[in-house]
Amino acid sequence: MELKKYTRLSLFIALSVVLNLIESIIPIFNGYIPGLKLGLANTIILFVLYTYSFKDALYVSIVRVFVVGILRTGIFSVSFFFSLGGAFLSIIMMSIIKKISHLSIIGISIIGSVFHSLGQIIIATIFIKTNTLYYLSWLILFSIPTGIITGIIAKELIKVFEKIDLKY
């Protein structure tokens, strides 16, 4: 069982890295509000959080940030710390809110998306020392549709994997 779990988890890390790279090519999210992304990698984190545990989701999320850092942005660069802060805050808040509230997976996805932006903004304020509250309001507004989209994808993913696990 352990072997199956770790194989799956490493598969998910690879998937989330690829989704992260694909997403940076999609042009509509690459212009007007810098930093705005669909957050497709969050579907994988949500899936792991729902089917495995908080610990495994944290592990997948942090390893993903490091691998993307090596591949794209350069490790220990400023944008690396942005995504580390965002990923860390979002996974912690998602698991806390999941325990204490009755939100469905879509609500949890929105929470994750909002706190991902918030974590990035906090790191940005530390690095650049600028007034970012105005910018945060736009990010919160846009994280609602992107959160709904990733939530629906994660929900369908869980359904599909339940069927696969019954088969094998």
């Binding site: 690459n30 212009g31 007007y32 810098p34 400023v78 944008s79 509230s101 009755h102 939100l103 469905s104 879509i106 609500g107 929105i110 929470i111 909002v114 650049i128 020392k129 600028t130 007034n131 970012t132 509250l133 105005y134 945060l136 309001s137 736009w138 919160i140 507004l141 994280s143 609602i144 709904i148």
Partner: protein, 121 residues
């Protein structure tokens, strides 16, 4: 999606719209200056009360960065970076807006005589 999700969405929309409108009211127009920073050091100050179009050039980390000011607004015209985020952003004019050019280590902020930070705090 259940009722709780909808409540969450409504609360989030209210929060962000509130912040946006709060900033719209607070935004002042007198004595505006755009200040250009390189590695957190002030290198250029542009007077935005001037209505004529003016072009400035500063030295960024990857080379020259062209900045245009016009009618109380300021934007980055040309710069060398992989994604060109700061030149795509266009004009900024309010004291809460900033242009950040991370590859060039350039930050442009707008300062007014009425400082927003004191009101927000």
């Amino acid at each position: 999606m259940n009722k709780k999700d909808l409540q969450l969405i409504i609360v989030l929309i209210l929060i962000s719209v509130n912040i946006l409108f709060g900033f719209k009211i607070v935004n002042q127009k007198e004595n505006k200056k755009a200040i250009v920073y390189y590695e957190n050091k002030e290198i250029l100050s542009i007077d935005l009360n001037d209505k004529q179009e003016k072009t400035y050039e500063v030295e960024g980390y990857n080379g020259k960065v062209k900045i245009v000011s016009k009618n109380g607004k300021v934007k980055v015209l040309e710069e060398k970076s992989p994604l060109h985020l700061c030149s795509k952003q266009g004009y900024i004019s309010a004291s809460y807006e900033t242009i950040v050019c991370l590859p060039n280590k350039i930050v442009i902020k707008i300062k007014t005589s009425n400082n927003l930070d004191t009101i927000v705090k």
